[in-house]
Point group: C2
Chain length 350, copies 2
């Protein structure tokens, strides 16, 4: 079934069918009804390739997820506490706004060429990039493309420097500085002075910002930064378990520790428990993300909630406007975070 047949059956020309499909104003209701009746009757759906070729959009957004694990890890993508809810929200808000979502996982910087490819083949009208570290490959994409792009968790100043002169980019970050400083204020008010930190990859923006704010907040409170309490967890479980075990074996522990994401917080919890260190009695733990499991573990995890759904909505909304030509240049949104107080934290008893 094609529009030509619909036209024949409705006794009009293909142009009129097209006008009806695209809701053009200069079609009288009678004609519109006549055509729609035939369209409904045959469940006609226009061929999207023909429409695109004739100049319409694809109504498709590409979602590019940078895996922090390598390909062999079975948890490589959606085991990530961050991606699942975000993906979910993008598909949902995208579908709601009439977009199809094309999804691609990127495992190495070299695979950034898939982003270029997907745009060049005209498969998508806009793209969402999440989880990328800053590296030359992604910068090439950012500086060469003028297709609408939403980048989650990236340094906006960096983008401003390198972006294409006709670029249409929206950067969306969470207020991580506020999140971390709130954690520390709260811990300090509970009498904690020895506060540790498990940092994520500093090549990601959030990894950098969270660590940086940890240092700033500690200084603000006049608290000493002890290197032995600052661990590198790279945002992943394995590394965190090792680093935490190492710290335990050295014999001295902070009274509280903040992890740069929930996954590392949970890994730390398990490692402490395996060494008979009780949470929160012996050490308080705070995570970041408020991933779905945070409320389910025992004890439930205090963490900073990131509004993934809001971020996805903002991304889709901004892309939608850029695609329609209603917005351009560099947009920057910062979404608010919230400290969710649960049972993994308590007063310092010392």
């Amino acid at each position: 079934m094609k529009s030509e047949e619909i036209a024949r059956l409705a006794g009009v020309s293909r142009s009129t069918v097209s006008r009806v499909i695209n809701n053009y104003p200069n079609v009288p209701q009678a004609t519109r009804d006549k055509v729609m009746k035939v369209i409904k009757k045959y469940n006609f759906e226009p061929n999207v390739s023909a429409r695109v070729l004739a100049g319409k959009g694809t109504d498709t957004l590409g979602l590019f997820l940078f895996s922090i694990y390598d390909k062999k890890n079975p948890l490589r993508v959606y085991g990530n506490s961050y991606f699942g809810p975000f993906l979910d929200a993008v598909v949902d808000t995208g579908n709601y706004k009439g977009f199809y979502i094309l999804i691609h996982t990127i495992y190495t910087p070299q695979e950034c060429r898939y982003i270029y490819q997907t745009f060049s083949q005209r498969r998508i009208d806009g793209g969402i990039i999440i989880g990328t570290e800053s590296n030359p490959e992604i910068e090439t994409v950012i500086s060469n493309t003028n297709y609408p792009l939403a980048i989650i968790d990236y340094d906006p100043d960096e983008i401003k420097k390198i972006m294409h002169k006709d670029g249409k980019i929206v950067v969306i970050n969470s207020l991580d500085r506020k999140g971390i400083s709130k954690c520390i204020d709260e811990l300090v008010s509970l009498g904690h002075k020895e506060i540790g930190f498990i940092e994520g990859r500093k090549t990601t923006y959030s990894g950098y910002v969270r660590k940086d704010e940890f240092i700033k907040s500690m200084n603000r409170h006049g608290l000493e930064l002890k290197n032995e309490y600052i661990l590198k967890g790279d945002f992943v479980r394995d590394k965190t378990e090792k680093e935490v075990a190492k710290m335990i074996n050295k014999g001295r522990l902070p009274t509280a520790i903040i992890a740069s994401n929930d996954e590392m917080a949970l890994a730390a919890m398990d490692t402490f428990r395996a060494h008979n260190i009780s949470i929160p009695e012996d050490i308080s733990i705070i995570g970041f993300d408020d991933s779905p499991v945070a409320s389910l573990v025992e004890p439930s995890l205090t963490t900073v909630r990131i509004p993934f759904y809001t971020m996805a909505q903002k991304a889709v909304q901004a892309l939608s406007e850029m695609i329609k030509g209603k917005a351009e240049g560099l947009l920057h949104y910062q979404v608010d975070v919230e400290l969710i107080w649960r049972k993994s934290c308590t007063k310092n008893k010392i």
Copy 2:
């Protein structure tokens, strides 16, 4: 940049460029090199809409996920212990085989029309359907479409009855009967006689099969089926918590309980714990799926592992062959499951 310009720059015709792009054999290496050089130089990527319109495939697979939650639940899709790993595997194996993946969430039977739409608009060459309950809407899709379709977890006999005469369908199930009967064999050998069951939605195939096999296996061992120990959890946490609490309040418990998925098993664990019932000392628990968290909870959850990756691979592989015309009709695969023994189960001490 279009193929015509590549042709001009390489000093050949558009047909030759097309032949090179599509790896046709009747092009001498010299010509091929000459053309490829220009293509590389300009990073040329052919317009996919034009290719599709001219008769090529879209190289895109649609993944349709039926949510067991409603739209308002923040865990609605990828909080599902089943979907995350499966989605992950589909994207991975699909991308690996050169397919793009279009993803759509279906919340209500009525939204099944999106499947029809996506095919009709020629957005995809094949589709994967997962998590669907049997209902008239999905049956309409199955009986009307002759596009390649992979259906995960569905009764193959039902499909055979209703499918389109030119249908190309692959049904992929896990050997759930083996999984459940192994659980019971194992529990019995540990001295358990009072075994409970938390069933999922029986409108899904696996929901039905797991419950049915529970009954059969109990009978095989000559064990009594007690209605008070058979709970309805609908595959979700909330309902399970309520049902388990109800059972606890009645005062009598089985010595072991099998849940039809991990999510319900974990919900049960939490509920027992909240009532000071220890696991596995007071009651042994077994789940189904081996979702990522199963090994992380305390105590770690004994569960039946479903090889999601293998299922995704089989789905993509079969679709790929059907799309190429190398396979047709109804295929049926059953993948093996494995009982993963962890700490949530122990001997019956009574």
